[in-house]
């Protein structure tokens, strides 16, 4: 997918020098949204009305929205689908989420959760999907899901690792034998390794970490073989001064994500045996 002409976008226009725009972070998008009273923070062309608008969870003052066309939703879901496949999700298995439905990892996994998505990232693989609302008071219901639905995979919001681990400690593991792996997700960035270890100890299965940056439509997962986060071919990463990393999302045209500053990390060249062509990211 070809990137659009960034001069058409109010957010990028002042950031353009002779070539690529200056790298930017979420706060700058919030600033633009606040100053111009623009819910999309200047990342839409004038007069454009995207069929799908997502509120970026990490933004709050004001909340900033991103917009997507159906083909971009599909491309984003394909990124996630490849990730679920790499983690081991197969047809006939069930993936259970303990998070909000607005987390793109949930939203894109089934074609029923959002308009215009023809093939969900998990349902498209032939896998089943269930979501439990991402609030600690729903931990009991999640244990019921583990026991009755017996998912093969779990994705748990980072702030729910502790209540889930506590509930398992007092009430025992549920659905043992069915569960193969789990993953922990953070609202922005990646959870600390200790969160993954804690959940792994509690569930008795390997736990992967997810890296998420909704403003850039980025979803990535770490790798059991090399320990780094593998980057899908939908993303291009570059090194910035002072150990920072920026990402450009190739499939985002309606609401471009060009040189989004992810934070401190290190780019690692391809070479992992599990996905030899993938660029990787070392992220603490």
């Amino acid at each position: 997918m070809r990137l659009p002409d960034l001069r058409d976008f109010p957010f990028y226009r002042p950031r353009l020098g002779r070539g690529a725009p200056e790298p930017w972070a979420l706060e700058e998008l919030e600033d633009h949204a606040a100053r111009h009273d623009d819910p999309f923070g200047g990342r839409l062309r004038a007069g454009v009305r995207p069929p799908v608008a997502l509120q970026i969870e990490m933004t709050s003052e004001p909340p900033v929205w991103s917009g997507l066309q159906p083909r971009e939703l599909s491309a984003w879901a394909r990124v996630l689908s490849r990730l679920w496949e790499r983690f081991g999700l197969e047809a006939g298995q069930t993936i259970a989420f303990f998070d909000y439905g607005s987390n793109p990892c949930v939203l894109l996994s089934s074609s029923i959760y959002v308009s215009h998505l023809k093939r969900g990232a998990a349902t498209g693989l032939g896998a089943n999907v269930i979501c439990n609302d991402g609030v600690a008071s729903m931990t009991g219901r999640f244990l019921g899901i583990l026991e009755t639905v017996r998912p093969s995979a779990l994705v748990v919001r980072r702030d729910l690792v502790a209540p889930l681990a506590d509930a398992i400690a007092t009430q025992g593991r549920r659905g043992e034998g069915a569960l193969r792996w789990a993953a922990v997700a953070e609202v922005e960035g990646a959870p600390a390794s200790r969160e993954a270890h804690r959940l792994s100890d509690s569930l008795g299965v390997p736990v992967r970490r997810l890296l998420r940056a909704d403003a850039a439509f980025l979803i990535s997962g770490d790798c059991a073989a090399c320990g780094f986060f593998h980057l899908d071919r939908g993303y291009h990463v570059e090194k910035l001064p002072e150990g920072q990393v920026a990402v450009t999302t190739r499939f985002a045209a309606e609401c471009p994500a060009v040189r989004y500053r992810l934070g401190a990390g290190e780019i690692v060249a391809p070479g992992c045996r599990s996905e030899p062509a993938a660029w990787r990211l070392a992220w603490s």
């Binding site: 608008a53 969870e57 439905g101 089934s110 969900g120 089943n128 269930i130 609030v135 899901i145 639905v149």
Partner: protein
């Protein structure tokens, strides 16, 4: 097929059937679903066989009485027995496609519904019909207001596509602490049609005021506010209209297991969406149909033979059915779900639900419309009607006396009003029965 031409804006030809023609349509549709169930769904094959029911003998809708009903308690027992959420009621024509499970939660436990793409398409169209009746039309933004665990979450994105609307996905979930995010969505996208769970409407209004936005400004440009999740009284409808300035307050009701009903322009009950379900109101003891407009337990057949198929399912909702002609011209009967039997309570020969108390108060003491209250479980256990009510700014003793007199006059039972400083914001608009310990 016998048609009526009285519907001002029909969704399609099904809306134009006469009531008699609709019954014939329903009979054929129920028969088809029964045939599929017995051919493909082990749960029903065994159940029909045990009841000595032969689908070939099904002639009229009254033949449904020969089929046993089942309830959530039964499903939970079967789930536990089988160690699985799959009970043999799940149908999928494409075994390669993944399914999505939604949750039916309740006080006694959780059951699961299987949804697939075909279910969504057919149920989505039926839901579009209902939303059309509610006043929704193409071209507005559609703010998704159902969390992903809920079956409505499978419908709303379809509706956005169907009505060529922008699909607006708010981050977080539908709890009061996220209300400011919903306020942002309403302010930014200015939808003309808004669907909300009633318990969320009040936290949203509170959040808007906190952000310096008056409710009427927040809903400026909204033509229809569709509320669901709790039965609304006429007074509550008027209260919402007054608060928000929205001219049309519509009501949707149903059951996760496949009941959908929607108010029409006349607001005299909620028309059953005929291509979703066929609904009966049965006496809880005799299991025979109750008289029109009398209260019974809601038993339904889901008429979309995809995903989880519920046939003669007793959702244990308190329902009335009115099949008198509606001035709007729609042929399907109107239902009103006024609560759940588990929240009902008895005084002498009367069985009441919180809705009755709300209705009595708004008729007897009109200024209490919209005033949140809780019915004390301890009070009921002691044989009296004790309400916990948010204390008004002035004249509390006089108001308490009027409320008490109203309740005693209406229900003939000792009543008591306890003022509390504040009730949880989530209960506003929905009067629950709670222990006073839960209120704090």
């Amino acid at each position: 097929m016998e048609l009526t031409r009285r519907v001002a804006e029909p969704f399609d030809r099904l809306d134009l059937l006469s009531p008699a023609a609709l019954r014939r349509w329903w009979t054929a549709r129920v028969r088809r679903v029964l045939e599929i169930a017995v051919a493909e769904l082990p749960f029903y094959r065994d159940r029909f066989s045990a009841a000595g029911f032969d689908v070939a003998s099904f002639r009229t809708l009254t033949d449904l009485a020969r089929l046993p009903t089942f309830r959530k308690k039964d499903m939970l027992a079967w789930q536990s027995e089988r160690g699985s959420h799959r009970l043999g009621i799940e149908r999928s024509v494409d075994p390669r496609a993944g399914e999505t499970l939604t949750v039916s939660s309740g006080t006694i436990g959780t059951t699961f519904l299987t949804i697939n793409a075909r279910w969504r398409r057919v149920q989505g169209k039926s839901s579009a019909r209902a939303h059309w009746w509610a006043g929704f039309r193409p071209g507005s933004a559609f703010v998704i207001s159902a969390p992903a665990w809920h079956a409505y979450a499978a419908i709303q994105p379809f509706l956005a596509e169907f009505f060529e609307a922008q699909c607006i996905v708010v981050s977080g979930t539908y709890l009061p602490r996220y209300a400011d995010r919903i306020v942002d969505a309403l302010r930014r996208f200015r939808p003309r049609y808004v669907a909300m769970f009633l318990p969320m409407v009040f936290p949203i209004l509170t959040a808007a005021r906190r952000l310096g936005v008056e409710p009427r400004a927040l809903f400026d440009g909204v033509e229809v506010l569709l509320v669901t999740g709790a039965p609304i009284t006429a007074g509550m409808g008027a209260h919402l209209r007054e608060l928000t300035g929205v001219a049309r307050i519509s009501e949707a009701a149903g059951a996760t297991e496949g009941v959908l009903a929607m108010s029409c322009t006349e607001s005299r009950g909620l028309h059953v969406s005929p291509d979703t379900c066929y609904v009966e109101a049965l006496d809880r003891e005799t299991r025979l149909p109750v008289a029109p407009r009398s209260r019974g337990t809601m038993v339904h057949c889901f008429l979309i033979p995809e995903g989880s198929v519920y046939l003669r399912y007793d959702s244990e909702d308190v329902v009335t059915i009115d099949d008198d002609p509606c001035p709007c011209g729609l042929p399907s009967p109107r239902i009103k779900i006024v609560g759940r039997w588990e929240n009902s309570f008895r005084f002498g020969a009367q069985t009441l639900v919180p809705y009755d108390v709300q209705l009595a108060l708004e008729e007897g003491v009109p200024e209490t419309v919209g005033m949140p209250f809780i019915i004390s479980r301890e009070g009921l256990d002691a044989g009296k009607l004790r309400l916990l009510v948010s204390e008004p700014a002035r004249d509390a003793p006089a108001l308490a006396e009027r409320l008490r007199a109203c309740l005693e006059g209406r229900f003939g039972v000792a009543s008591d009003i306890a003022w509390v400083r504040e009730l949880p914001v989530a209960v506003k608009g929905v009067a629950p029965v709670l222990s006073e310990r839960q209120v704090g």
